[in-house]
Symmetry: C2
Subunit: 223 residues, 2 copies
Amino acid sequence: MVLYVIGLGLGDEQDVTLRGLNAIKQCKKVFLENYTSVLGVELEKLVRFHPPRRCFSSGRVCSKLVALTLCLVILADRDCVETGADQIFEHAKDDDVAFLVVGDPLCATTHSDLIIRANELGIKVEVVHNASVMGAAGACGLQLYSFGQTVSIPFFREEWRPDSFYEKIQYNRGGGMHTLCLLDIKVKEPDFEAMCRGRTVFLPPRFMTVNQAIEQLIEIEEK
Amino acid sequence: MVLYVIGLGLGDEQDVTLRGLNAIKQCKKVFLENYTSVLGVELEKLVRFHPPRRCFSSGRVCSKLVALTLCLVILADRDCVETGADQIFEHAKDDDVAFLVVGDPLCATTHSDLIIRANELGIKVEVVHNASVMGAAGACGLQLYSFGQTVSIPFFREEWRPDSFYEKIQYNRGGGMHTLCLLDIKVKEPDFEAMCRGRTVFLPPRFMTVNQAIEQLIEIEEK
């Protein structure tokens, strides 16, 4: 059977391609990757209006996609994709399975690892491309042709303040290139204080603002 | 009314997004940009099976899209887009008009000029993103994050053998970056010999092969 790795594009559920939608429709299980970026659809609001037909205990339900595809979407967090990918492969041995990714699966979020592992298990993989955040750079009026290496800017922590991305921005500038800076997202981060007290609690999601990124760059520059 | 600038993605007509298809369906005129890249659909073959409902003298017809959208697609060559864009704008003043682009409209083929001119004329523009050839780099197993500035390699002519792209590749390598090299396409090039004899004849389309590109790079290196 086939593991379809499907890009959803940048906006909402209408940005899926016909090829992607047709693949989703024929899949028995649909996973939505839910930790490298954020789907532009408010799940909670929608669940109320489109109750799912079946329920999985392992995840919430993305109902706007449900309405489109008439199948159930399982939200896959980092654990599910990285350490629990076996459950995805297990399903894909007997049925067609879709693994949805916001943007493009191989462009701004490279799920090559998942694909390589599936290939090793003899599972056929088909990738359905879509627009990615890297393509969106063109919408700002900047030519994607003129971008150099992309950098990720992680949240600084008390003891961990890496600065290697600064040199890459400098090198890009030296060659007359722009730099796309991807700002950190922290979703489903464990609360270590609570863990010490024996409870599993997750911190609220955090999204780095442009100002936070600039403050970190200035800190590196002043070193 | 709205000028929809719609990316078609990389493969065939099934790679259009739902948002894009819905926009096309409500448009009275649909143009397909037909000189910066090539749609992965064999037009001639398909026309035979899906005869168009109406015919325009100015262009051929892309019938697989016709079958999907039930409207007529006008193939827009360089003249039509660059010097003849006024006809596109003229239609867009009274009706919704779609301008289709293989790949993404602003990523690998930046149609910013068309959009700026439409804005100046007070025409509302909506861009529908899609996968582009730049995103396809990820499908080779290379991380798009690690690409530097993209270069275009034009066909060398007897008297015109530019080499500035070579330095850009070198700079990218210096920073540990890959380079995406876009190879030249010559479609609807005038045959100057025939023109001298008073006839308008176009040369057959040419697509640079990887070997031709490498031969040109070696020639520059040996200089």
